[in-house]
Amino acid sequence: MSANSSSAFSRRGFLGFAAAAASAPLLAACGGGSASQGGGGGGNGVIKFWDMPWATPAYNDAAKKIVEGYSPASGNLKASYQTIQWNNFYQTFSSAIASKTGPAVSTGGGFQAFQFEKQGQIAYADKVIDELKKNGQFDDFLPGVLEPFKSDKGYVAVPWQLDMRVFWYRKSLFEQAGVDVPKDWASLLEAGKALKKVGAFGFATGSGAGNNIGNHSMIMMMVNNGGGVFTKDGELDVMNDRNVEAIEFLLELVSNGIVDPASVSYTTENLNAMWKNKKAAFGPYVLGVPERVGDTSGDIVVASPIAGPHGDKGGLVFPNNIMMYTNTPSQASSEAFLVSYMGQLKELWRQKLMNALPVFKSITEIPEFASDPNNVKIVKEWQPIAKTFASQGTVLNDNLAVLDGGQALNQFTQTVLTGKTDARSALQAFESGLKSVIKK
């Protein structure tokens, strides 16, 4: 060997050190570190419950406590709790189900249950509903929350919370602009013009990366006008006059600068900042906006539903639900766990961890929930008139997942928000986009 070693640095020493440093903890990590291998839905004698980060980490801690504190009747299995991230969640669920390592019971996307039902992976919840009838919880459901889940074959899932889209407004900005809070579309337009003079936007929304509020604004305005993209029988119906009218109105808001021209690219973070920095005066959003944007001074308030040109009112609701899977160590145990969990839901609202409406009347009456006037207003004024994505229809289905997350609605929303279109051609493009992906 005669080549000079051109450095004082010993390669072998370095690699040896790195390998040693890397492998020691690696072995330790792989020895006992893998937590949930093995059978699907359980297989190791436990009911796997997967939950999403619905609110702050404190929510997941509380839910975990409930699940781990569940002591089943004799013969039934205990349950384990697992948080699944929202990012790419459909991929996570799909790959887990396909490899038989999925959950036995889970929350998830609003229409996920219907998608997996199509693929034969969902266990129907009729026996759970029967149990709820026996223990009195069935009669406690708020009106209309159960119907969307009733299919020909049985209950696809059980609703547990209602994610609402309602109008919020900032009092001080309306005072500053010297206008009243809108009661109908005409006054919304007028108020928007006045608000613009004080540098605020009369219709705050956003459809940037990962933000679906913009999409929901579109459907909400259609529903507000008695329209929507589905008929009572679940037929696709995009081009109806009420929808055209709603989109024409939105385009009018855009062309008058009542919608922030940059809205099309606003993430939820940008939208929160808009509310926080007194740029947003009025607009559709979720529950708990004051806490969400960090301004609990009482200046940000829920508005009453506003009337469309024909006197219609309407808001949007996404009934989030808990589903059971066919791949479970014991279907009876899945059912027993779900019945028990439904009975424990009150705890989550009692600890003020939820930013969604409960599905049970009794929970809307507990002081921790009813002490917030915004919550009360939403239950009283918005929940009864709220429509799902099925619009005029009452039953949910797997196509709604395509509508909600899909490209057609998103492109349509962004086209409207950039304002370089007319209502009819935007709707036409939307319709053909939907037709190409919706399965009959």
Partner: protein, 297 residues
Amino acid sequence: MSAALHAHPESGPVLGVAGPAKNRRVLSEAGHRGQWWRLVAILAITAIVLVPIMVTVVLAFTPGPTSTATGFTLENFGSVFSETLASTWLQNSLVTTLSTVVVSVAVAAPAGYVLSRGRSKAVSGYSLLLFVMQSLPIITSVVPLFILFAGMGLVDNLLGLTIIYVGSTMTVATWMMAAYFDSIPISLEEASWIDGCSVFGSFTKVVLRNSLPGILSTAIFAFLLAWNDYLVAIVFLRSTEIFTLPMGVQSFFQQNQTDWTSVMALAVIMMLPPVIVFAALNKYFSVGGIGGSLAGR
């Protein structure tokens, strides 16, 4: 381009390359004249490039929404470590990443050598195959791989993740190593063969020994791919206690509430190890200069 004029400051003494003395003086004078504008240029570019990163760092030291502190504070870091599993995530990330780096280099260096020196149909066929195979975007591979790994009991643990990272860095790492070996004249190997080395022996003792910059570049590439990935991790990892750091950062992005100051504190923690690694390895980067070994013969 006066830049091209200047030799490596370190390479001279280390390699024992001494150009004629007269020449070196001329060179350094030219260097001094050009030095100030180069410094200004690099300062300006660095400043512009770092603006987005400054945003992150500033936020990490800003009091959070529920904080009573004002001005510059370290409490975000405190709360990240006390209220989340940040230290566990950091450890998981380090384990996964370092294993990935070591194994990737160990696999890619020999393969890169073959790609660089081999001239047969089979070798060029294989190097093309490396391309074809890795051109498929990872998002389409993740689900099939998950199903495959689930059958082997390799989901939701760091070993499975490491195997995938090694597989995905390996293709590029092989090419990077090959590119570096290409710049090493074969005369070095020929010389060692005369001294009685085998093909394999001269590869390990001569070629690798002179390939530190190439190995380090490859290692850094592998380090960053494994360190920053979340597309694979998000599908493969479920238990909070075996998350890697990017997953940890992701899990902060809650659906309805985001505490940016904590996210940014975690992001700064995430930036530190690579920065420390680069800073430590930086001085070995410029050690190269194969010519030196030749001149010394």
